[in-house]
């Protein structure tokens, strides 16, 4: 019961803020609504007992990426951009196609739940109490089978750091 309440609460906040995010004129307002969406997603992770991912989402996404976004929005003067037309000329085509995509995937999810014995959605769920401590499980996974991806990700971050510094310099 509490699970349901928490899920619907966070899901409503996530979808609501996402909708508000793509419709605001001011970029700072959009950034704030994206932050709310990210926090709601973190709440969903917590509800799914993925505590490590919950806090990593808050530290990296909200405390890192969104602060970066807000920094850039403040450095770039967007008053002129706020007065322009906000939506591109292909907005109706885009909307129709997106809704078609939504319909297709939604139908697949809907049907897969109804076919007995087939599809991936009918497996049993691991009980919450039998899960190993979450941070340890993720760490075992990261430093065990997926060590190579871990190293590649750190290399990627190094490259991104160098790229961002070079890109933002005034004189290269």
């Amino acid at each position: 019961m509490l699970d349901k309440v928490i899920f619907y609460f966070f899901a409503a906040i996530a979808v609501g803020s996402a909708l508000l995010m793509i419709t605001r004129k001011s970029a700072v307002h959009s950034a704030i609504f994206l932050t709310t969406t990210l926090l709601a997603t973190a709440g969903i992770f917590l509800q799914l007992r993925a505590e490590f991912l919950f806090i990593v989402q808050i530290i990296l996404y909200v405390g890192g990426i969104m602060v970066l976004f807000i920094f850039v929005i403040m450095l770039v003067n967007l008053d002129v951009a706020a007065q322009q037309i906000q939506y591109s000329r292909q907005k109706w085509v885009a909307l129709v196609l997106s809704l078609a995509l939504a319909g297709q995937v939604g139908a697949m999810i809907w049907r897969a739940g109804k076919l007995p014995g087939q599809g991936m959605l009918v497996r049993g769920v691991a009980a919450a109490e039998s899960l190993p401590p979450n941070a340890e499980a993720v760490a075992q996974s990261l430093f065990g089978p997926y060590m190579l991806s871990f190293e590649i990700a750190s290399l990627l971050l190094l490259v991104a750091m160098i790229g961002a510094v070079v890109m933002a310099k005034k004189k290269v």
């Binding site: 001011s26 700072v28 307002h29 704030i32 932050t35 505590e51 490590f52 919950f54 806090i55 808050i58 530290i59 909200v62 405390g63 890192g64 969104m66 602060v67 807000i70 920094f71 403040m74 401590p133 979450n134 941070a135």
Partner: protein, 450 residues
């Protein structure tokens, strides 16, 4: 009717959510008052270090000063700058204060007082929620629609983000020794090893001390918000209640970093020499009660010498309060029936004492050291603290592997690590001094320099 209420009460009391909710409400209600009195303590400590008396007028010995300040701030005119973004102007202090208070949730004041018990990622939770506070600062500076505020906010946010990395690495050093992210497990690990982690990883403690001073925007790192620089930075346009929210957020943050440092490095709620049992252990256990009895005795001794009757009465009342708390602290030691209270009350006392000592250190540094210029601040963070903290983490990792795999003595391995990190720090400091010498020579050789 009464039966229904009784049933409801039984359900509420049995629910596992009741006690955390009560603690949460107590913290949210009590924190502003506590923060106000921490401000009073700061002013008194500042006065003591400057050979004067501090606030003495409002209430006996200035004890009602925070109340007067709170009333003044609540009654001040609420100014909103023209063309400021009203929603974000209203939201920014809320974010700061919410992040500050929320970060206190997993903090274990004692083994019994923890709102978010056994959260799997305790320390990381506190670090993450503290990073949410950056939002309050940046949005506050932007929403004020003022150049000074924006510059101050950007500087403050840059400072916070830079020192967050160093603080996180320093915490990781402590976490490597502790072996878990859970708060309770860290303190129990320190109890098991019999030594506080500050003795095993002193450099990590020092780095965390410096980084946490920068994290809370305290002097000597308070350039973004000092009154003589940038007209108080991101707080410039905030007046009255909104300003008090920012202020409250800053002191809540101070308590949070104090709690984290105490939990990881200073042994949390353990008493000094917690592994020593028997007669010596009981002697140490009487120290809290004896300390407070001493304070009560001193208050009683000074009471007749007060000039005004109200002050006399207040001194006697304070003495009585200290005596009552001392009795509560001494009871579990001497009375066997009260032994169950021991971990909770003594743990809370030692924890609060250590956090108080850490915050006193903050205040001491504030009134002793001059302020860092912003570029010096960023150099210190990126060119000194982060490399030293990375080397420290690597060193402690190697030391732990040597201890576990090769059976080397832990103290020896960590001692070698400390020496290596000190050597790296010395190299960096020497390079910095040489650079400054070169800059000074270049400046003095320039005929047109001021």
């Amino acid at each position: 009717m009464m039966n229904h209420l009784y049933e409801l009460l039984k359900i509420v009391l049995a629910s596992p959510y009741t006690l955390p909710v009560i603690y949460g409400i107590v913290i949210v209600a009590v924190l502003p008052l506590v923060a106000g009195y921490v401000v009073l303590v700061e002013r008194k400590v500042m006065a003591d270090m400057q050979a004067r008396l501090g606030p003495m007028r409002v209430g006996p010995h200035g004890l009602l000063q925070p109340i007067a300040d709170a009333i003044k701030l609540l009654l001040k005119e609420d100014i909103i700058p023209e063309k400021a973004d009203v929603w974000i102007f209203w939201l920014a202090p809320l974010i700061s204060v919410t992040a500050g208070m929320l970060a206190l949730a997993p903090v274990g004041i004692g083994p019994a007082f923890q709102i978010a018990k056994d959260i799997d990622v305790g320390i990381l939770f506190i670090a993450g929620i503290s990073s949410l506070g950056i939002f309050g600062i940046v949005l506050g500076g932007w929403a004020s629609n003022s150049h000074y505020s924006l510059m101050g906010a950007l500087r403050s946010a840059a400072q916070l983000v830079s020192y967050e990395t160093a603080a996180g690495m320093a915490l990781v050093s402590g976490l490597l020794l502790g072996g878990s992210l859970q708060i309770r497990a860290l303190v129990e690990e320190q109890a098991k090893q019999g030594v506080w982690f500050v003795a095993l990883a002193p450099i990590a403690f020092f780095i965390y001390l410096v980084a946490s001073i920068a994290e809370t925007n305290r002097a000597p790192f308070d350039l973004p918000e000092a009154e003589s620089e940038l007209v108080a930075g991101y707080m410039t346009e905030y007046s009255g209640f909104r300003w008090s929210l920012y202020f409250l957020a800053e002191y809540a943050n101070m308590m949070v970093v104090g709690s984290v440092a105490t939990t990881i490095f200073l042994g949390g709620w353990l008493r000094p020499f917690s592994s020593v049992g028997g007669a010596a252990g009981r002697a140490i256990d009487t120290v809290p009660g004896a300390l407070l009895l001493g304070v009560a005795a001193y208050c009683l001794y000074r009471a007749p010498k007060q000039p005004v009757t109200v002050q006399k009465l207040v001194m006697v009342a304070v003495a009585g309060l200290c005596a009552v708390v001392a009795a509560a602290l001494l009871a579990p030691v001497f009375v066997a029936q009260a032994l169950w209270m021991m971990p909770a009350i003594h743990g809370a006392f030692w924890f609060l004492l250590k956090v108080g000592g850490y915050i006193y250190l903050f205040m001491w540094l504030r009134f002793t050291l001059p302020r860092y210029r912003f570029d010096q601040l960023m150099r210190l963070g990126w060119y000194f603290l982060i490399p030293v903290s990375i080397v420290n983490v690597m060193g402690i990792g190697i030391a732990l592997v040597l201890h576990w795999e090769r059976g080397m003595n832990l103290a020896l391995a960590l001692g070698l690590t400390t020496l290596m990190t000190l050597a790296v720090a010395a190299v960096l400091v020497r390079a910095e001094l040489k650079r400054e010498e070169q800059l000074r020579q270049a400046a003095s050789g320039d005929a047109y320099a001021g």
